[in-house]
Amino acid sequence: MSDRKPKEAFSLELLRSGERAEFARLVETYYEMIYRLALKMLNDPQDAEDILQETFTKAYQHIQNFDGRAELSTWLYRIATNEALMHLRRKRPQTFSIESPDYADETAQEPHQILDWRSLPEEELMSAEARTHMDAAIQNLPSSLRVVFVLRDIQGLSTREVGEVLDLTETAVKTRLSRARLRLRAELSSYYSERLEAGRR
């Protein structure tokens, strides 16, 4: 399951010539995935909408520079990701990190007793409270890890595509993805284990 839409063929020639109907088709195809990417990165609907608008404005202005070697969706992701990361840098300069992320030791977060919280009912795993906690856990990730997790696991890009979007090697993508996933698992485990124990009391 992913946020990825099926590939659609677009005429680069029409897009480059400024053909508005073709550009409208591009917007219609990809606006949802770009909005969701921005929302997961920034956790603020207004900021996500700003990134969405900025992404397609820039895409329209710079479509001449698109050489067609990558997928159009990858190119759009690259613009949106850059916009989102720049937004974070402006908004939270003290916590922003892309080049030298602050990697904590994930194993240190592991409780001594490992509880199997998967037995919790689905409605509890996805309750409004749980979703708030999940969103907070993503926001607690350094932006360098968050962006990889969102692109790979939520948007459904391949490791290679994430590397293309972020200019990272596949090894770097895998390393960051692993750290992001383990941190989120630790955060969720801590939350759900409390729910599990509360249910037993």
């Binding site: 969701r36 929302l39 397609f56 509880l115 939520i154 490791t159 996933r181 698992r185």
Partner: protein, 82 residues
């Protein structure tokens, strides 16, 4: 791989759940998992974590007004369809 290797396993978990590990290493982890319940729980809960994030994200609806304002901003109003 023995019980003391549980921490080492963490480094390979992500690629293991993606099915991207080399066969030999995969088999080694499979053997470890048969003996180590804690690691089984960690792997299962890691997969569940990914599943939960994917599931809740699918439920994020994009408001119609957001789409409408986007088309307006791009001066594509004539192509906007309810």
């Amino acid at each position: 791989m023995d019980q003391q290797s549980c921490r080492q396993l963490l480094a390979w978990l992500s690629e293991y759940v993606d099915g991207e590990l080399e066969t030999k290493l995969c088999a080694e982890i499979d053997r470890h998992l048969m003996e180590c319940e804690n690691c089984r729980i960690v792997i299962d809960s890691l997969e569940k974590t990914i599943y939960l994030y994917q599931s809740v994200s699918q439920r994020d609806e994009v408001p119609t007004e957001v789409r409408e304002r986007l088309f307006q901003r791009l001066k594509l109003d004539e192509f906007f369809e309810e």
